[in-house]
């Protein structure tokens, strides 16, 4: 069977299990672009009668709140029910756009374990664009079939419940196998084995067994583990099944003790399904975790709506929004008096003077983009200083609303080493190993910084470009090693930075200050700082002073 067919078959099985026991399993991530194939997949879930929600859904919708229309009509408070009041089966569309906050709320609802089920439709195109981990962590299945849908594909039909999944018996060996396998694949979270156990139980119940067997566990691990794996188990490690727990004796049904070969089979089953980036070893070993989604730092695109200020009396002029609750509050105490004046109406009487308007105080987040020259021999020290400075700035930035990003340029290329973030933990991990050496493509570095600055500005941040270099640009934009062209190109990009009105700072880290760099700073209308032998502390200090951080 080809891997493609295999993945579709698994998807069919997962969907079947899901429509069999939605509340018990809790949901799935369906990572596919909108397509007839996805429609086909969703058709399998139609019997669930799911309710569609979107990432911008309001809390009142989810958890209930004041039903304003009904309240006004009936003169007493009418609440409408939140979606999560009952067993709620939701389809969350565009889950990759879901905010961490919403994910946390949904995750909490799943944690209550009262039979909610969330189907997250994830249309992320890039690796980074994914459902927030707070949610994906709690959903057992990550369905993302690869390749073309096989002809005649249909989900395994959900039968009627012969057995309650909860009542399926499972032996201590099963627990051992499932847990050991999770650690072999570098899955840290304890939720994964628990979810796998649930899936195994659901599968057993689905096939009408009262006890877990090998096939149930195989299905469960191949459905739950591959997307969470961070490492490939090394073959030399022989202890597939751990040392048996002393409790084994207490379990009377130790009739089929699992031995090593079966465990190996499970390992192979999961290994065959690992996503390519794990196979390619892209997840660095040592960091046993993988951040599938973006941290809050990046996720918080655009601006916060700002912090709400108390509402003000005012007039509606089409530009501002009415704060209905505040307006009601303002009108409420006057109702008896107004009713006396206007005996005909028993309805709520609102005068223009009651109108209250919503106000927000918006504050723009600043983004510091470090473009660091990683070329030549001095690269290592410079990069280290830049790393130090970034971490120090981030540590300081807690009071301010600063994000930082890091671009390094060397050889022929510039790459974004650290996308805009506020998370210190994430930063440390990403900055752990940085390469150095090669030519100085200053123009390319600046260009990359400019692009990032424009992008982030589109998301509502205020970017500042900080270039750390020794100024001997020797690689032009087109990659040719031509000093004259290289510095001309750098000048051009600098002018572009100026024309976009992006503030900038050029830090000269060469032993002797370069007049060329001062000119460059002039060209991008930024400040110039000569900091020979700057260390992380001085660098941070200088940046803070220059930018008023």
């Amino acid at each position: 069977m080809t891997p493609q067919t295999e993945s579709w078959n698994l998807a069919a099985l997962g969907l079947g299990l899901l429509s069999f026991a939605p509340g018990y399993l809790g949901g799935a991530i369906i990572r596919m672009r909108a397509s007839p194939q996805r429609d086909e997949v969703l058709r399998a879930l139609e019997p669930l009668n799911a309710h569609r929600i979107h990432p911008n859904i309001s809390d009142e919708h989810l958890f209930g709140g004041l039903d304003l229309a009904a309240t006004l009509k009936s003169d007493h408070i009418v609440d409408f029910k939140g979606l999560f009041d009952d067993h709620f089966i939701a389809i969350l569309s565009m889950a990759e756009r879901c905010s961490t906050e919403l994910a946390a709320k949904l995750g909490h609802q799943l944690d209550l374990d009262v039979g909610h089920c969330i189907l997250a439709l994830d249309e992320g195109a890039e690796e980074e664009e994914a459902t927030p981990p707070a949610l994906s962590e709690r959903l057992p299945f990550h369905i993302s079939p690869i390749g073309k849908m096989p002809v005649g594909w249909r989900p395994v039909p959900a039968g009627t419940a012969l057995v309650d999944p909860q009542s399926v018996r499972c032996s201590i060996d099963d627990l051992n196998t499932v847990t050991a396998l999770a650690s072999q694949f570098g899955i840290d979270s304890m939720r994964a084995p628990l979810l796998a156990l649930r899936v195994a139980r659901a599968h057993a119940a689905f096939s009408g067994h009262k006890k877990l067997d090998q096939r149930d566990i195989e299905v469960a691990v191949s459905l739950v583990y591959p997307q969470r794996a961070t490492q490939i188990p090394s073959d030399v490690e022989p202890d597939t099944t751990p040392a048996l727990e002393p409790e084994t004796g207490a379990e009377p049904n130790a009739d089929t003790p699992r031995d090593i070969p079966e465990g190996d089979m499970l390992v192979d089953a999961v290994r065959a399904l690992l996503p390519p980036h794990v196979l390619a070893g892209l997840v660095p070993t040592g960091t046993a975790r993988r951040s599938t989604g973006q941290g809050a730092g990046q996720k918080r695109k655009g601006n916060r709506r700002g912090r709400p200020l108390p509402s003000r009396p005012g007039r509606l002029d089409g530009r501002n929004r009415i704060d209905l609750v505040a307006t009601l509050r303002a009108a409420a105490p006057w109702q008896p008096i107004r009713r006396k004046q206007n005996a005909l109406s028993s309805k709520l009487l609102i005068r223009p003077s009651d109108i209250r308007l919503k106000r927000y105080q918006e504050q723009s987040d600043r983004l510091l983009i470090f473009a660091v020259d990683a070329s030549g021999s001095a690269a290592v020290s410079r990069l280290n200083e830049a790393k130090g400075a970034i971490e120090l700035l981030l540590a300081q930035a807690y009071a301010d609303r600063d994000h930082v990003a890091l671009i390094s340029f060397r050889g022929l290329d510039a790459e974004i080493l650290l996308p805009p973030t506020r998370s210190l933990v994430q930063t440390k991990r990403r900055l752990a190993n940085l390469p150095g050496g090669g030519g100085t493509p200053l123009a390319t570095g600046l260009q990359q910084a400019l692009l990032l600055a424009l992008q982030s500005r589109g998301k509502g941040l205020t970017p500042t470009v900080i270039a750390l270099t020794d100024g001997r640009a020797n690689i032009a934009l087109d990659g040719s090693a031509d000093r004259a062209r290289a510095s001309a190109d750098a000048g051009k990009v600098a002018q572009l930075i100026r024309s976009h009105g992006i503030s900038s700072l050029v830090i000269d880290m060469s032993a002797r200050p370069q007049s060329g760099l001062e000119a460059l700073a002039l060209e991008c209308d930024g400040s110039y700082l000569a900091l020979p032998r700057a260390d992380a502390q001085t660098l941070t200090g200088a940046v803070s002073v220059a930018l008023g951080v």
Partner: protein, 334 residues
């Protein structure tokens, strides 16, 4: 709603469990912050805490759980003034909570129907004398954080809005949990937490299996499981009650006070809250262990969780603040 997973059934995570028990012994410690990876049982532990806490005596209809009818705020319209025994409140502050819901607001229903101005108490009122739990505390919106900072410090909630001018006691133990990968916490809020602990997934396979086994038993064999562990929980609760009684009589030698100060100076922690928390927590620990006198071992044991979040962070120090504190404590105490 299902009964929460019992506290005593949580495998490992001793630092977290100890910190929570100590806040129950002495609520004045000022709360716990639990930071760690996903799936390490942070939320489980906090939700389990409720079952551990000894019940309190409250005026039956008082919105702020006052212990005597004389303490009830004057704006509250009391029905029955009978004293009743209630479980210690553990109030969940949901992430999306509005300001109105947190601090309380004008009771719209009464205002609309009867034209009366009355106060509808919020979550802070309900959490008085109990616990306020914020899951994913680092994602809490800034304006709610500001509110909490103020109230957690003063122990009083002052509402000045919509023509209302109301104040009521709001003394609660703040418990927060979060994942540092999703964002940092502002130092002002960090400082308000008495203790901070970091949790990690267990490394040992045996321990992991045990976690799964217990959780599985909890789900599939609920009644029997709860029976076993609620007895365990009751034992912890009794010890907490005994420790509370012992706490006022606990002897604190002067040498220990000097040690506290010396540790905090050596670490360069800001303000005096570090010393105070260190001392209080060490006393609570000594009382919980049934000791009559505080000694250096108590300080040693508790220093990392009482101080780690109060240090100026040095991001270049890879070892983390826990190790640094351990080193300094050893230097100071010898």
């Amino acid at each position: 709603m299902k009964t929460p997973f019992p506290f005593s059934a949580i495998v490992g995570q001793t630092a977290m469990k100890q910190a929570m028990i100590l806040t129950a012994v002495d609520p004045g410690i000022g709360g716990v912050l639990v930071f760690g990876d996903r799936g390490t049982g942070k939320s489980t532990a906090v939700r389990a805490l409720a079952a551990l806490l000894p019940p309190i005596r409250v005026v039956e209809t008082c919105p702020v759980n006052s212990p005597r009818s004389a303490d009830c705020p004057d704006w509250a319209e009391l029905g029955s003034k009978k004293l009743v025994t209630r479980p210690t409140p553990v109030i969940d502050l949901p992430l999306g909570a509005t300001e109105d819901r947190v601090v309380g607001a004008l009771d719209i229903e009464r205002a609309l129907t009867r034209g009366e101005k009355a106060f509808e108490p919020g979550l802070l009122a309900r959490a008085n004398r109990g616990y306020l739990y914020i899951d994913e505390v680092n994602l809490l919106e800034d304006h709610i954080v500001d509110l909490l900072l103020d109230v957690a410090q003063s122990g009083e909630n002052v509402v000045e809005r919509e023509g209302l001018s109301i104040r009521h006691p709001a003394r609660f133990v703040l418990v927060g949990s979060g994942n540092p990968e999703e964002g940092e916490l502002r130092p002002q809020l960090l400082d308000r937490f008495g203790l901070s602990v970091e949790v990690r997934s267990p490394d040992e396979i045996g321990e992991r299996v045990e976690v799964i086994r217990r959780r599985d038993a909890f789900e599939s064999d609920h009644a029997a499981f709860m029976e076993t562990y609620s007895a365990e929980d009751a034992k912890i609760r009794d010890t907490i009650l005994k420790a509370r009684k012992r706490l006022p009589r606990l002897v604190t030698p002067d040498g220990i006070l000097e040690d506290c100060a010396a540790i905090c100076i050596a670490l360069g922690s800001d303000g005096l809250r570090g010393e105070l928390t260190l001392l209080r927590t060490a006393r609570a620990l000594a009382a919980y262990q049934g000791k009559r006198k505080l000694n250096r071992d108590h300080l040693r044991e508790i220093a990392p969780s009482a101080l780690s979040h109060r240090l100026r962070r040095d991001p270049l120090d890879e070892a983390g603040s826990g190790t640094r504190i351990g080193r300094v404590v050893e230097e100071v105490l010898g």
